[in-house]
Amino acid sequence: MNPITPIMNGLKITLSHMFKKPITLQYPDERPKVAERFRGLHALNVSHDKAKCVACYLCPTVCPAKCITVEAGEDQNHDKFAAKYEIDMLRCIFCGYCVEACPVDAIRMTKEFELANYRREDFVYSKERLLEKK
């Protein structure tokens, strides 16, 4: 083979890219379009102004990273609710098992992926923070 051919082939590819739309995003000026089924930060679903979660303990049970902490409480009507619901994002592996396990559709995963933070504590998402995203 002519020693020049591979070089030419390479340059051809390089050249062709100059006329294509760039893949690199100018983040944060440009934002990625996240896929429909992307598994990002969790959110607790709300219904009737309350978290839907009934503290059944299935998500902490199924979670392979053991990063969900639930503590159940009893409200005035003697119903069960999550007095504490915490996810440690440093340990979460975004498998989505919790969403699948939930019998009452109380938890979903949002498209939120910007999870960087300055302090370790800030990675532990409390119930309030998880509820914020409607």
């Binding site: 503290a55 059944c56 049970t61 019998p103």
Partner: protein
């Protein structure tokens, strides 16, 4: 044994077995929902359907059908599976299926079977139930919407607990489980119904929503309350004991527990637990380091004039170490349980049987044919033994005689005969029974040759039934009938409780009762004999380890007097709370105030600990390892379920360190001490932690019967006064149960039980405050009008720090009191 074929497997089973039991014995699993090992077959749910060829392939319930020779049984044909699915569909038809919020989820028979049989849809539709849910009870939540009407709760409450609080009410589709007139649950709160309920209808409220069943670590252990020594499984999560778990394979009692064992565990993780050593500086106790506290204590121990009081809740190993520590301090003055609570064993049995333990065991109750229970309180002090008595009487037709100064629950058992005597006259009464046996020549053939027979004959001469009956408020015939029945029985068993609240003449009573057994020769035969039920979880162990004064040394009362007089300079109290539990509070307080240096090791800052110079935070049975010896010398090994709370240390560690500080050699581990025990304590030979295993072992009791004639002058009634008897309440054991939420929900404070007649005369009603005054003091207690009290007799339990009975009770068997509104 009969031969049969189950699922093409040739098997044998006992004649009395049902198909279900036969299958289980041979490792074949038949699903059940309404059946329980301990209960009589019922056949309500039809989950256990099987086909029997001889019955032309009809489907019949395995749990109620007895096996017969040559039966050919199929347990899971497609037809059976179909039928079981249908059963489940029908059960789920009106069922809420709210598993996510149902606390039973994960431990629910209905859920498990639904999963196993893949019932994911229902062919039928109907409305769900709308029964009202009982959230009000602090211990048991009742949600009849989830009930599958298996009847186990009602059956266990009737067959074993013999209370009968729950029953089926209404008919047809309306049928549900409830209390009489649909009222609130007001029962013993033993939780038996909760433990057998296969679904989430009956739930333990203290555990509600705390955790899922599968997230709990299950640690088998031994109950830390009374001497019955029930086996227990603790459910632990995040170093907290959250509940007790029912395991029907555990112990002689097959998982049955009483309210203390089932609902009284909260003291383990109580907020009130001491976390750091405290040292007195001026008037207050301030936190200190262990080193400082122990150095201080060691210094005092070295300087002599030391005495010790221990609670018989300590493990055997700890008691042995405590004794060593006392020896190193040059002291022989140590005792437990106020000195008298163990005297039935250490004096009574020691003289009469030549042993400091009971020759009979709890297992004998089911094998006996006549039970003679002295003091109906046996049920209150040792409830699970009470269950055994219930079962023996109700299922096996064992005759029951009760000698008591008040009626009680046992008296309500079928054909139970209660000899209700005036308080304080037990000994005379027992002697009269012995006298009748002698006079009517009912004694065993060998009785005459037993040492002390002549003295006994002489000693009993004054106790003719005629004389005694007048004094006891009985008829001579009643006494004679009891004597005849006792002598005629093939395997009669005597049971009597002792304890801190039963002072007076324990030693004499033990001897008098032993005389009966020796006279009739009813000792040493399985199912007969005599069983002394000492109070705390390791009372028998404390006696076996010899933690009581030898001749010449001070007993508990003398130790307290020594503190007051200055003869005792340093008092080491391990786990006892004498200020509340020993008689005569004034005397105890005076002693504790006077003593130079008071060391208390305890879980809590008890009234006694609050007076101490050094308080050492000890840990509970759930945090340490050791052995407890139950009332029938069942030696059981227990292991820690959780890490120690705060900086607390086990008494084992505390005593070890002190022994080292005093220049002795401390053993390395509880196991090493147990090896010493096995080598030195009679009956414990060849035991070690491995051989004890999960079930424990009986330490053999070798007896040498001797007649020990006892006589006591009758207690004289004081005119115009009431006879006060003290004792235990069913919901409590010692003063420890005050820190258990369960017992405190049901029985939060002391009370005075008074007969209806007396109450009517005094015009008092329930909860009216009464001032009780005796020669030694007075206190205010709430009245509880009760049909079980005879006229002129009042009863008060001793467990409570507030308005404790020892303010007016000085340790007499009967205290004469006046009551005022």
């Amino acid at each position: 044994m009969v031969n049969l074929t189950i699922d093409d497997k040739q098997v044998t089973a006992p004649k009395t077995a049902t198909i279900y039991e036969a299958a289980k014995l041979n490792g074949i699993n038949i699903p059940i929902l309404c059946h329980d090992n301990k209960l009589k077959p019922f056949g309500a749910c039809r989950m256990c359907l099987v086909e029997v060829e001889q019955m032309k392939g009809r489907q019949i319930p395995a749990c109620t059908t007895p096996v017969t020779e040559g039966m050919i049984i199929l347990t899971s044909t497609p037809d059976i599976v179909k039928a079981r699915k249908m059963v489940l569909e029908l059960l789920l038809l009106n069922h809420p299926i709210d598993c996510p919020v149902c606390d039973k989820g994960g431990d629910c028979d209905l859920q498990n079977l639904t999963y196993e049989y893949k019932v994911s849809a229902n062919r039928f539709t109907d409305e769900k139930f709308h029964h009202e849910i009982d959230y009000n009870n602090p211990l048991i939540e009742r949600d009849m919407n989830r009930c599958v009407l298996c009847g186990k709760c009602a059956r266990i409450c009737d067959e074993i607990v013999s209370f009968g609080a729950l029953t089926f009410i209404d008919r047809g589709i309306e049928t549900k489980i409830g209390c009489e007139f649909e009222g609130a649950l007001n029962c013993e709160f033993c939780g038996s119904c909760v433990s057998v309920c296969p679904v989430g209808s009956l739930l333990a409220r203290p555990f509600k929503f705390k955790s899922r069943f599968w997230a709990l670590t299950k640690q088998k252990t031994v109950c830390g309350y009374c001497g019955t020594g029930c086996n227990l499984t603790l459910g632990v999560k995040d170093n907290k004991v959250l509940t007790t778990i029912y395991d029907d394979n555990q112990g002689f009692h097959k998982g049955q527990l009483c309210v203390r064992g089932r609902f009284g565990y909260q003291f383990i993780n109580s907020d009130k637990r001491l976390a750091k050593p405290l040292i007195r500086r001026g008037n207050s106790l301030v936190e200190s380091s262990w080193d400082e506290a122990l150095e201080l204590v060691a210094g005092r121990l070295k300087s002599g004039n030391v005495a010790a009081l221990a609670t018989p809740r300590l493990a055997n190993e700890e008691i042995v170490l405590f004794k060593k520590l006392m020896e190193l301090s040059g002291s022989k003055d140590y005792d437990h349980s106020a000195g008298y609570a163990h005297s039935a064993l250490t004096e009574g049995f020691a003289k009469s049987l030549g042993a400091t333990a009971s020759p009979s065991t709890i297992l004998d109750i089911q094998k006996s044919d006549l039970l003679l229970v002295v003091k109906t309180d046996a049920y209150e002090t040792h409830p699970v033994v009470g269950f055994e008595i219930n079962m023996a009487v109700k299922n096996k037709g064992v005759k029951l005689y009760i000698l008591s100064d008040k009626r009680g629950k046992l008296a309500r058992l079928p054909d139970a005969k209660t000899l209700l005597h005036t308080p304080g006259n037990e000994i005379a009464l027992i002697n009269a029974v012995a006298k009748t046996i002698l006079d009517e020549k009912l004694a065993g053939a060998s009785a005459g040759s037993v040492e002390g027979f002549v003295e006994l004959e002489k000693g009993l001469s004054a106790f003719t039934p005629e004389l005694v009956s007048a004094q006891c408020g009985l008829t001579a015939d009643e006494i004679k009938q009891l004597a005849r029945a006792y002598a005629a029985a093939e395997k009669p068993l005597i049971i009597f409780p002792v304890g801190l609240a039963y002072p007076g003449h324990n030693a004499e009573m033990a001897s008098a009762l032993a005389n009966l057994a020796i006279l009739t020769g009813k000792l040493g035969v399985e199912g007969s004999g005599i069983l002394c039920m000492s109070e705390k979880n390791n009372s028998q162990g404390a006696v076996d380890m010899g933690f009581y004064p030898e001749a010449g040394a001070k007993n508990a009362i003398q130790i307290l007097d020594g503190c007051a007089s200055g003869a005792v300079k340093t008092l080491f109290v391990a786990g006892e709370n004498p200020l509340v539990s020993y008689p005569d509070q004034t005397r105890v307080r005076n002693a504790l105030e006077k003593v130079d240096f008071l060391v208390v090791s305890d879980l809590f800052l008890t009234e006694t600990a609050a007076m101490a110079d050094v308080v050492l935070p000890a840990c509970s049975f759930a945090e340490k390892e050791g052995t407890f010896t139950a009332i029938d010398r069942r030696v059981q090994h227990f292991k820690p379920a959780i890490q120690k709370i705060g900086q607390s240390r086990s008494d084992f560690e505390i005593f070890s360190t002190l022994i080292t500080l005093l220049g002795g050699r401390a053993p390395v581990s509880p196991a090493a001490v147990f090896a010493e025990i096995a080598a030195g304590v009679p009956g414990y030979e060849s035991m070690n932690y491995a051989t004890l295993g999960e079930t424990g072992q009986f330490a053999k009791v070798a007896i040498k019967p001797v007649f020990n004639s006892v006589s006591l002058t009758a207690s004289k009634a004081e005119s115009g006064k009431m006879a006060l008897v003290t004792g235990s309440a069913l919901y409590h054991c010692g003063t420890l149960s005050q820190y258990g939420e369960g017992p405190m929900h049901v029985c939060p404070e002391g009370y005075l039980e008074i007969s209806r007649t007396d109450a009517a005369n005094m015009k008092v009603g329930n909860d009216d405050l009464l001032t009780v005054t005796s020669a030694s003091g007075s206190a205010k207690l709430k009245a509880r009008v009760s049909p079980r009290m005879p006229v002129g007799v009042v009863f008060s339990p001793y467990h409570f720090s507030d308005s404790s009975v020892n303010q007016f009770w000085s340790g007499a068997a009967v205290t004469w009191v006046t009551l005022a509104k």
